[in-house]
């Protein structure tokens, strides 16, 4: 496999998979930025960063999960955790997950426990879906 990603050369299933991730809104332009940083000095950069993301985000999500079990909810703290998590999501271009983060933050500001809890479940689903899709993609690429 070439370490540099030439999108024109990614044929067959890998190319299609990659394109569908963008078309279906799972990834945004930032992911392309990551691809552009991959070269001979950083041959596995994209996969590396994504791996880092899933490791780090597991920790952040656990913090949020814990904080959501408190009563009453500390919305300021939740908002803060979510800001951190959102920063990570935007670093890899995780578009759908990032949108859930924004939604979550809005519920924090509105002081809606229900909204936060619901959105968080949705967020975890998106987070997990993206992970599976990226894993499948890296197998092919």
């Amino acid at each position: 496999m070439n370490s540099e990603i030439d999108r024109n050369k990614l044929h067959g299933q890998a190319g299609l998979t990659r394109q569908s991730l963008f078309d279906q809104g799972y990834l945004d332009e930032q992911f392309v930025q990551l691809e552009e940083l991959q070269d001979d000095t950083n041959p596995n950069f994209v996969e590396e960063v994504v791996t880092l993301f899933y490791r780090d985000s597991a920790r952040l999500l656990a913090n949020i999960e814990q904080a959501l079990e408190r009563s009453p909810l500390d919305f300021a703290k939740l908002d803060d955790y979510m800001l951190q998590f959102k920063g990570c999501c935007s670093s890899i271009g995780a578009k759908k997950v990032k949108n859930e983060c924004t939604q979550f933050q809005e519920y924090c500001r509105a002081g809606s426990s229900d909204g936060c809890t619901r959105t968080f479940q949705q967020l975890k689903r998106e987070h997990s879906t993206l992970k599976n899709k990226l894993e499948a993609y890296f197998q092919l690429a």
């Binding site: 940083l37 000095t41 950069f45 590396e48 780090d56 800001l83 920063g87 990570c88 670093s91």
Partner: protein, 184 residues
Amino acid sequence: MPVKQRNGDQNDRFPMGLRVLAVDDDPICLRLLETLLRKCQYQVTTTSQAVMALKLLRENKDKFDLVISDVHMPDMDGFKLLELVGLEMDLPVIMLSAYGDTKLVMKAITHGACDYLLKPVRIEELKNIWQHVVRRNKFDSIGRNISNNQENNGCGATDGHGSTETNIYQKNERFGKKEEGPTR
């Protein structure tokens, strides 16, 4: 990567070899930042702790040209780091955040940040950061020339023109003139 020798005119080195200290507690952001900065051919040192960043800077401030730091960090508020670096080392500091809130940007600039970048940072923005260092070096030398001239002319008090120059410099430092055009 060729490293230019430090000669009389510091500005000859730039932009290659610009020595940047990058500070961010988030490992993904830090890894990304490091890679982007290296792609710009800068010399990069990274740390995830503001406290460590200060230690490195205090040990030898001449080892760095510029600091880039996240605003939100657990061990020390990014604004605190910004203040301390400004006071102790007088190095240009660029703040980074996922929040682009105007109040936050204003706070950063009034605390002395020379720029405020929104995450995720793009390489185009980092390609221009060396200008902050050159600008600062230039203003430093203007300031020195003015006070030298005043001494040579035997002026006890600052003359009209001289004080305007230094006042503009101070005002820029304090309010951090944010250029949109040439630096982007």
